[in-house]
Symmetry: none
Subunit: 425 residues, 2 copies
C-alpha cells in the first residue's frame, strides 16, 4: 500500500516555510506499513490544486493533502475538492458549535469567517479537529482514499494520530508489522554501523535494521514484516522474534543505548532522578538555557528540577554559581577548571543533589587556535564527585548548542547509572 | 518564467530528512524573477526518476533536481539523465583531478567510487563543484532547462549561487516579481484579517496579500507580479508600488508589527537593546529556559545578555531573585505580584538593565478553576518601571511554553519602544 503527500500553498513554493509536516507523516505512515512513493507541492489556485490531485491519485492509493484550509484562503481547496468529488457543500452545525466553544473557551470573539470554516463538502467524512478550526476531510473514490488536513503542524499531527492513521490501518493494512526501536547517544552512524556488521549478518530477510540519525543521537529501528501466510498468532510470533533480535542488539552496543521507543534522553534522565529521589539543576553558559528547556519540555519536571543559572557573563558565573574569579582569569571561562566549579556551585547554590554545567564556544565568533569554535566543556557533579569532559563539535552555532545539550544529558545519564550500579556503564 | 523543483532520494520519502533545500532554492529563484510553481519528490529508482522528470518538464520551463548523486547511489540519477537526453557518458579528467586534489587537501584516501563520480554525460554542461565531489549538470531540450545538483545543502547552495542562478538570469528574461513581508506578534490570523478587510479592497489584482501564521505570530507578505509589457524600469516601478502598499499595511496594524522580511522577534529585540546600550536578563519559571534559549540562539547575544535564572522551585525564586516568600504564600507563584518581584529581582540580581519574568502553568498538571492550565503571567521591568500582563493560552504544554516565549519577547519589544519613543505603542 502506498501514499502520496501533497502540500497546497504558495508559502511552501515561495520558500517562506520549510515543510516539516511531510517528513513526520512519512514516518508515521511507514510505521503502519504504508510507504510514501512521492511528494509534491502546488500553489493555491484551482487549476494547480486539480492537476496536483489528479497527478497524486494517478501515482498512489492514498493521497494525503495538507494546507490550503485557513479561514483567509477563500476555501479554495475545500471548494475544489467538493467539485472534484461532485459534492455539494453544507453548513455543519456540529463543527460550528465546536468552533464557537473553542472561541468562548479562549475568551475571544468568533470572527464571521468561521461560518465558512464550518461549511463542508457533503461527500466527505468529517474528521473532527479538536485543536483548531479547520476540519479534516476524508474522501473515497474507486478504492482510493484522499484526505485533506490543515497545514498547521500540531493540528495535522492531531488529526493524523486520532483520525487518519486508525482509519487507514483498519481499511488497508493486514500484514503484521512489528517495530522496536533502541535509542543511542554519543556515537555517529558509521561508527555504530561498523560495530553492528556481524549482527546485521544474522538478521533474516524479513527483519530490517534502519539507522535514524539526529544530532548526537542515532535511533536503531528493527522492523519485521510477516513474510508468509497469515495465521492468528502471526503477530505474536513476529513480535517475539523482533524482540529477541532487539535484545541481542542492545547487548552488542549496550554502552551507547540510553532508552527505547519514544523515550527521550531528558525523559530517561528524569525517570532515573525520580527513582533515585534526587534533584537536578543546570549551570549553562554556551547552551544558554537549552538544556533547561529540554528538561522542562517534559511534563512533571518540577518533581526533580530546581532550576538553572544561565550565566552568560563571567560576573554571573561568579555571583550566581560562586566560581572563583581567579579560576576564570587563569584558565578562561571555557576550561575544565571553570566548568567543574560551575557544576559544584550549582549543587550548592541552586539547591540540587546533582548538577550539569556547560561552558563552550558556540560560535561563530569567540574561537582561537587553542580553543576553536565548537569547543565545549561539560561537567556533572553531585557535590562529592565531579566528572568533566571536553568535546569539539563543529562550526554551526545551532548545532553546537544542540550537540552540547545531548552530550551533557548523556553524561548525566551515565553518571546516575554509575551512582546506583557501579558495575554497569 | 517558472520552475519546478524535484528532489530524488528515499531519505526524503521515508521522512529521515527534512527538505530544507527547496525552500532556499525557491527564495533565490524568486529574487531573480523565476517563480516556483511546483515541487516534487521521488524515490531513487529509474522508473520513478523518469516519470518525475517528465512530469516536472510538463509543468515548468526550468527543472532543478537535487539529490541522487552520491557515490553510494550507483549513479542511477546520472545514468537515467544521460539516457533521457540520449547522451553517452565519458570520464572527465578535470573533474577527477579536482576530486583527487580535494581528498589530498583533507588528508583522506580517495575511495575507488570517485572514478564514477568523474564519469559524466557528454551532453551536459558540467557545473564545477568546488566544495564537494558530485558535479552539477545542465541540460537543455526544446527551450527548457534541466539542472541536476547534489543534495548536500552547502554544495547545492554553492552551485546555485555560482553557476545556476547567473546562467538562468542571462538565459531568461523574466517578469519582475517583488515580495515584501511584515512580521506581527500577539494577534491571530482571523483577527488581523478583519482589520485588513478595507486594505485588501484597495489592492490591485497584481498585488496579493498572504497570511503566514505560526504560534503567536503571523507574517504578512505582499507579492506584486508586473502585469503589463516589460520596460527597463518595470521592476523599480513595481518595487515602489509594493513598498507603498507595505507602508500602508504597516500603518494600518502598526501596533502588531515588530519587524520585516527575515527578522526574528529575538533578533529585533537584540538590535534594539544594542542600540539603546541596555543589557537583558530573564527570570523564567514555566518557560523553563526557553526564552533564554531563543535569545542565545542568535549569534552575538553575549553583547547584551547577562543570563537567566530558571527558578522552577519557589525556593529558587526566593534565593536567586529575592522574591518575598510572603508574596508567594499570599498570591501564589503564578500571580501578578510574584512575577513583578521576579522581574525586579532579575534586574537587581542578574546585573541587567531590563528583565523579562514569566510564571505560569504550562500543564498538563497544576491547573485549578481559578488558574487553569495555560495561565501565564509575564512582566517586564527596568527596575524603575514594571509592566505585567496575564494570558490564558491553551492546554498543550509545548505550545504554552512557545506562546509565552513569543508574548514575553513581544512585551519586551513594546516596553523598549515605549522607553525610547513615548508616543508609540
Amino acid at each position: 500500500m502506498n501514499a502520496h503527500l501533497l502540500t497546497i500553498g504558495d508559502e511552501i513554493l515561495i520558500g517562506q516555510i520549510i515543510d516539516t509536516n511531510s517528513a513526520w507523516m512519512s514516518r508515521q505512515l511507514n510505521l503502519i506499513g504504508v510507504s510514501v512513493n512521492g511528494k509534491s507541492s502546488v500553489g493555491d489556485t484551482r487549476a494547480d490544486i486539480i492537476s496536483g490531485i489528479e497527478h497524486a491519485l494517478s501515482l498512489a492509493d492514498i493521497v494525503l493533502i495538507t494546507g490550503g484550509l485557513g479561514p483567509t484562503k477563500d476555501d479554495i481547496t475545500k471548494k475544489t475538492l467538493a467539485d472534484m468529488f461532485e459534492s455539494g457543500m453544507s453548513f455543519h452545525q456540529e463543527t460550528f458549535d465546536r468552533i464557537s466553544a473553542y472561541f468562548q473557551k479562549v475568551g475571544r470573539p468568533m470572527p464571521p469567517s468561521m461560518r465558512d470554516q464550518a461549511t463542508l463538502p457533503d461527500k466527505a467524512i468529517i474528521l473532527v479537529n479538536k485543536v483548531g478550526t479547520a476540519a479534516g476531510m476524508w474522501f473515497e473514490r474507486d478504492g482510493k482514499v484522499l484526505v485533506s488536513l490543515p497545514g498547521v503542524p500540531f493540528e495535522m499531527e492531531y488529526l493524523m494520530t486520532n483520525e487518519v492513521l486508525p482509519r487507514l490501518k483498519s481499511k488497508f493494512v493486514s500484514r503484521p508489522i512489528v517495530h522496536r526501536t533502541l535509542l543511542t547517544a554519543g556515537e555517529g552512524e558509521s561508527a555504530i554501523a561498523r560495530r553492528l556488521e556481524d549482527f546485521e549478518e544474522t538478521l533474516p530477510a524479513y527483519i530490517k535494521l534502519a539507522y535514524l540519525p539526529a544530532l548526537g543521537q542515532v535511533r536503531l529501528r528493527l522492523t519485521g514484516v510477516w513474510p508468509g501466510e497469515i495465521h492468528p498468532d502471526s503477530e505474536a510470533v513476529l513480535t517475539n522474534e523482533v524482540e529477541n533480535y532487539t535484545a541481542t542488539l542492545r547487548n552488542t552496543i549496550g554502552d551507547l543505548v540510553f532508552g527505547a521507543e519514544i523515550q527521550t534522553l531528558q525523559g530517561v534522565v528524569g525517570e532515573k532522578l525520580r527513582a533515585l529521589g534526587l534533584t537536578l539543576s543546570t549551570a549553562e553558559s554556551c547552551t544558554g538555557g537549552y538544556i533547561s528547556h529540554l528538561i522542562t519540555s517534559e511534563a512533571g519536571a518540577s518533581d526533580f528540577f530546581t532550576g538553572s543559572a544561565v550565566t552568560y557573563s563571567n560576573e554571573m558565573k561568579i555571583s550566581l554559581l560562586g566560581v572563583n574569579p581567579e579560576t576564570i582569569n587563569a584558565f578562561g571561562a571555557v576550561s575544565e577548571e571553570t566548568v567543574r566549579e560551575m557544576a559544584e556551585g550549582a549543587v550548592k547554590n541552586l539547591g540540587s543533589d546533582v548538577a550539569i554545567a556547560v561552558s563552550g564556544i558556540a560560535g561563530p565568533g569567540g574561537g582561537s587556535p587553542e580553543k576553536p569554535v565548537g569547543t565545549v566543556w561539560i561537567a556533572v557533579s553531585n557535590g562529592a564527585r565531579t566528572t568533566a569532559q571536553t568535546y569539539i563539535f563543529g562550526r554551526d552555532r545551532g548545532k553546537n548548542i544542540q550537540m552540547a545539550g545531548v552530550y551533557a544529558l548523556n553524561m548525566l545519564n551515565k553518571f546516575l547509572g554509575q551512582a546506583t550500579d557501579p558495575g554497569s556503564r
